[in-house]
Amino acid sequence: MEITTRSLWTALHGMGFGALFLLAFSAVFLELYRVTHRATVPTPPFATDGFLRGYLLAMTALAWLAVLSGAYIVYPWYRAVAPPGTADLAAYPQLLLKAHANTIGWHSLGMEWKEHVAWFTPVSITMVTVVFFQYGRRLREHPALRSAVLAFAAVSFLSAAVAGAAGAMINKYAPIQGGGVIHLSKGA
């Protein structure tokens, strides 16, 4: 069993950072809603402001790691230019997608949208994190601001979901390949 370094980075970008952000979202959204809501509800012992702050910081880090690894490590491999006369485009995902009428949309719509919309995620979740650090539970004293913060949290999730879904489909039709080979285990 083996994996290439480029495949490993792509998996880390998509699964390690992006998918983990998406998985973490529902908990932070509900907790943000709960602790900033006017109604008094029992607080589970683990759900302190410190826990939520740490959770938000981790999500913010995941969002930035996802876009930075995507834009500066994986994307250059995706848009690599093939030498003239190259027949096998497997190592050139963008060109491979654009070479077929039934896959070109994954580049012209999927990647073109993904590469930009993904950046709404770190911008939004960073703002949410900073505002929660500033206000904490006292955000409940500013209902309109609280609603705006929750809306931007939702934007961070939706933009990550669009980018993640497009990335998964693009990598299905034109996977990032190449680089050094890492041998994980020998066959039975």
């Binding site: 848009r79 930009h116 919309v117 705006a148 933009s159």
Partner: protein
């Protein structure tokens, strides 16, 4: 009354939300510029392997952080009329989001 019990003004929060809207609009406008105007695209290639995406996103982030710093300083101890600020913020966000969607970009 301890300082922590004093009413927190809404200014810092409003500044953060409006700045996020400014960042979103900047991202949308720069995406459009990088896609539709070759002269702009050439100036947005700040890191060749990533192409114009490097300039589009870095410049957007600079404008976002800059707007946040300025608004945050102006509204640090103030209460502002929150609803119009939030309305503008979401309008900027909506336009920014639309301008990253390729079928909308193709209208220009």
């Amino acid at each position: 009354m301890k300082p922590t019990d004093a009413a927190l003004p809404n200014g810092p929060g409003a500044a953060a939300v409006l700045a996020a809207g400014v960042g979103a609009l900047a991202l949308g406008l720069l995406t459009l510029a990088g896609d539709k105007y070759p002269a702009a695209k050439a100036h947005l290639v700040w890191y060749r392997p990533t192409g114009a995406l490097s300039g589009v996103t870095t410049l957007s982030l600079v404008l976002w952080i800059g707007a946040w710093a300025v608004l945050g300083a102006l509204w640090r101890r103030r209460d502002v009329a929150l609803r119009p600020v939030l309305a503008v913020s979401f309008a900027l966000l909506a336009v920014g989001l639309l301008l990253t969607f390729p079928p909308v970009i193709d209208l220009f």
